[in-house]
Amino acid sequence: MRTPLYEQHVQLGAKMVPFAGWEMPVTYEGIREEHSAVRHHAGMFDVSHMGEVEVEGPGALAFLQRVLSNDVARVGVGGAQYSVLCNEEGGVIDDLFAYRLGADRFLIVTNAANHETDLAWLGRQSRSFDVLVRDVADRYAMLAVQGPHARAVVSRALRIELPPRFHVAHIQVGRRPALACGTGYTGEDGVELLLDPEVAVPIWAELLDAGVVPCGLGARDTLRLEVCYPLHGNELTPDRNPIGAGLGWCCKEATGFIGAEAVARARAEGTAEQLVAFKIEGQGIPREGNPVIRGEEEVGTVTSGTFSPSLELGAGMAYVRSDLTDVGTELEIDVRGKRRPARIASKPLYAKRS
């Protein structure tokens, strides 16, 4: 599948790669440059591959309270909230943002690879609620504009007012209704625009003219990894509990969501492994799947690893046996047969100097 901006990516010379059934740009001029643009100025990502699901009806709130881990009742109209979608065993089906567009109307944004699974799950769970679950992925192109200058550039270039962080607003762009969301996946301030696919090309061009740097999935991954945002399929899977992933903060078991009992048990009893962030001391770049070693024993697995452009060293996240998760703990990462010394670091790995 191709997003409405496919031709723009090709014209800009992007390296295109298959991702969750989509042909997506991994980089244009280089991951480091794009990464740095987002950390210091403004960059934009075509994230139109992400899915959108609309949940509407008198039972919308009760339904979402049942399927999402967070306390959805605390989100007012115009608010946004992060949650995980759990199965009965407390495993994570997906992680997502829910935007409250009206008293009885929500939009949730799914990971591209999980969109169909989420839809099937939500459809099945919705039967006992007075609610309509609709796949509206075709109605939206999605553009994430991120970086310390992102808001200023977007509001000037598109002549719109933007909502504060973790809020959503109805706006007009290119004379079409659109949604502006104060959310992102980079650790920087910014907005995510849900646009009519028809206006995606002119809006992209306007932002490009305004100096926003086009960024690909490569930089998206290094940016999120530096601030320790989990990625579904790596840190989050249907076999792992959100507590082990450090997402206890977005699980409100009192709401009785599906999986709440398993999550409450994990919270009380602890999990065998926990997700940690680590830095390589010296040379080497950790990669997904590398074993984590302590002495001669394998004590965990790397879930995401990269060269960190901001820190200029190898870093990543790993599930590690729970008794070895203190910050400062010395471990080794087996990078294709070479043991690379590493140390557990506090999250996030990268924090802006104030």
Partner: protein, 133 residues
């Protein structure tokens, strides 16, 4: 200049291996590296993991790794021999592999154990044909 922003170059005086490596042969020694195409496919090189001086490398087998931000690539030996020098400057400036793949971005120098192997390598015209196919 960022990788991908200019057309590839392939010097006439080098011999090429189909795994996108080059060799500059001088008597019984050779300097080895990766081609413009290889560095462009990989993206910005951030780490070169070299073999040790004295190590034996074997034609068609991996002897080192180069890594970009998101990818690891084995470097295949175009010729067999003993490593006599490693480009240590790449530890601090691995980007030289992108900027100057046939010059400052060289990887190792070897003393050839089977100099006749060079006859199996490609000339520039043959290598370009491989890239176009």
């Amino acid at each position: 200049m960022a990788p991908g922003s200019s057309e590839g170059t392939y010097p006439e005086d080098l011999r090429y291996h189909e795994e996108h490596d080059w060799a500059r042969i001088e008597g019984d020694q050779a300097t080895l590296g990766i081609t413009w195409y290889a560095q462009d496919s990989l993206g910005e090189v951030v780490f070169f993991d070299p073999p040790e001086v004295g190590a034996t490398i074997q034609k068609d087998s991996s002897y080192a790794e180069v890594e970009s931000v998101k990818a690891v690539s084995d470097v295949i030996a175009p010729l067999s021999g003993e490593v006599i020098e490693v480009n240590d400057a790449l530890q601090d400036t691995p980007e030289k592999v992108n900027e100057d793949p046939y010059g400052e971005g060289w990887l190792v120098k070897v003393r050839l154990s089977h100099p006749e192997e060079s006859e199996t390598l490609l000339g520039v015209a043959e290598y370009r044909k491989l890239l176009d196919s």
